[in-house]
Symmetry: none
Subunit: 219 residues, 4 copies
């Protein structure tokens, strides 16, 4: 961030960062419960005890990993509502779907570890509330709802549907698809979700376009 001080040009090992990266890899391929501190330490090339110089416990390490992984896409997502009124609605929806899929693909493996363990979930909730960027506190649905509301004000999508509920429809698609792509295929639950393509976009866009008040499907 600052110029000068070129005496140690990116030289310190930055053990903390090394540990987070290593832990991210291990959590990814083993899951939180099966990831051992020994394996993480080995992956980071440090001694086991070193972990505890930088993090209070295994949970704290996990939280840092989560923030590191989710951080980048989260920033872009938080600014998404500013797009309302620019470009076409269809283009924006498409970009939103992409963005969400990206974020979900990165975090789902970690998130699953949280879901799978109520005890962990409790700790995580407390921890994250204080550190999650404000714009994302409501989660992707809130972000999407904010965008849709803004478009409703522009008159570019129907205003007779609840923006929050509509946002849920929009977000659920990449959410389901993203999870499926990351998580081990052929598992029960969602089944084989294709990534949202032209057809999905078409359905969403048609369903959200203004005008055409008659109820369909009542034939």
């Amino acid at each position: 961030m600052s110029a000068g001080a070129a005496e140690k040009p990116a030289r310190k090992p930055d053990t903390r960062r090394v540990l987070i990266d290593a832990a991210a890899r291990v959590f990814l391929e083993r899951g939180f419960a099966r990831a051992t501190t020994k394996e993480i330490a080995r992956a980071a090339g440090v001694a086991e005890g070193t972990i505890y110089r930088h993090f209070d416990d295994k949970y704290a390490l996990f939280h840092e990993v989560f923030l590191a992984v989710a951080g980048d896409t989260a920033q872009e997502l938080a600014r998404f509502p500013e797009r309302a009124g620019r470009g076409t609605v269809r283009e924006n929806l498409e970009r939103l779907l992409q963005l969400l899929i990206g974020m979900i693909e990165h975090t789902t493996s970690l998130t699953a570890s949280i879901w799978a363990d109520p005890e962990m979930a409790r700790r995580f909730e407390v921890y994250i509330r204080e550190r999650m960027p404000m714009g994302l506190q409501g989660g992707p649905v809130a972000v999407a709802a904010a965008y849709l509301r803004a478009e409703q004000e522009c008159g570019r999508i129907r205003d007779d549907v609840d923006a929050l509920e509509a946002a849920a429809v929009v977000v659920s698609l990449p959410f389901a698809s993203g999870m499926q792509r990351v998580l081990h295929q052929h598992l029960p639950g969602p089944g084989d979700f294709p990534a949202p393509g032209a057809a999905a976009l078409e359905i969403l866009a048609r369903g959200l376009e203004p005008g055409g008040g008659e109820r369909p499907g009542d034939a």
Copy 2:
């Protein structure tokens, strides 16, 4: 020893069933990884060793719990495509959403344990492939796609969208919402999904209705 049917209304304890029920509770509130055989045995009111008279190991017990929990709704879901052409499309979609939410609410806590642990996922995949009812092998998306294709043949929904992709849109909604409702709230990931209500249904139905070829959202 004696003939007659209703003479033993006080059924034998059926330890196996007792164990499955107890395990379902424990897996639900602790997650697979944190659920101990000791706790499951205590919850079932049997000795720890008894578990192993009925199940090969903790994994096998989990699998049985999953089948028991998923079984009921799974049956109804498998028969869903028969509804095509009957009632209104909107009614059918509504019922489908309900059905999926119910199933997902029941199984998600268990499914999360699978997702969170690649090792577990591998075992589960093998195990389930042989015991999952055939009609559900492709998962809910396949079921929904079958239904939509049948409606396309009836001419009750547009036939210029891919049924599979459309099915993904339909299923992802209750999937995301159902997970959210079950999983510990305020967690990262989906954010606050409202359950699919009138607005969601409206969007889906409008997006799927036949006719109206012009592209929306390009204003």
Copy 3:
């Protein structure tokens, strides 16, 4: 032993005998410590609980197996000293070696289980003392010593060596060889003992023959 009573011509299943045979097989291939009552019951084709109708515990079953296995050769061995003065000494020694090897081959696997477990040894000692045929109480060495003493009185072997010690020399040979043949090869301990052949017999016979007082090996 008695004639008549042909109504049930060897018909009762004789569960006890079946169990002993099955247990013999299992103890042989698993060793006492690793042999489970479940496996024995399965091998015998009976329920696990049935074992305890016939034997007090796993130890008692083992003891019965041992007696059943050792019984046959033991009888013949007990009568061996009667041979003194008949045939040639060399022939008798050869027969003795054969006899011992046979017995040892049958019992060594079982005996090893006793040796390996001091607790078991204690129980076994008590149990066996009361049921071992009297002629064998001193073990094979005593039997061999009795034979050699008798031959000394016949003047057919030197009488300036202690019969007991000489017996030890004679018995140790098939003992070592027999163990080796049965026990898993290439293990530490004895190394590869060839079965006692012509050369071994030659050494023993020469070493025991009367006359030739000069000390060898002092060259």
Copy 4:
């Protein structure tokens, strides 16, 4: 930190060695199967988990105990063939018997645990093959055979007997006696072997001395 050798006479605890010694004691008095890791840890004055910092598992610990116990005498035994031609044959044989008895007395309790358990035997075989000192690979019989062959070339023992077979005769004596002395007395099997004394040596030496071709025992 500092130069000089004898500055730290108070050696570090050397947990590994402490564990091996403690385990040797426990294996000796309980046998491998009954020796628990808990008891070994208590005997060593360390926590149970510490065992696994030093050894892969209970088997590996056993192997190390075996090597530690067998190691010393094994070294001397491996060099024994060099004695050929020096001293008298009788003296050498006597020393060989002593050496073997010593080694066997030390290792037999452990060896019994191997014999008693085929599964254990398999593991041990693999493990030991890579770590047993080369000179002892063939076991004591091979060593003794090497010595006898060398003496045959010196003309100090008869060359019309097979050295390997003669070696088996020589080794079997201390083998049987050594086992007997260690193993719990009055057990079936060898019976009461006296330790090889003057008489045994006499028989062996006379049986091996050169010259005297007539067949004895044919009277």
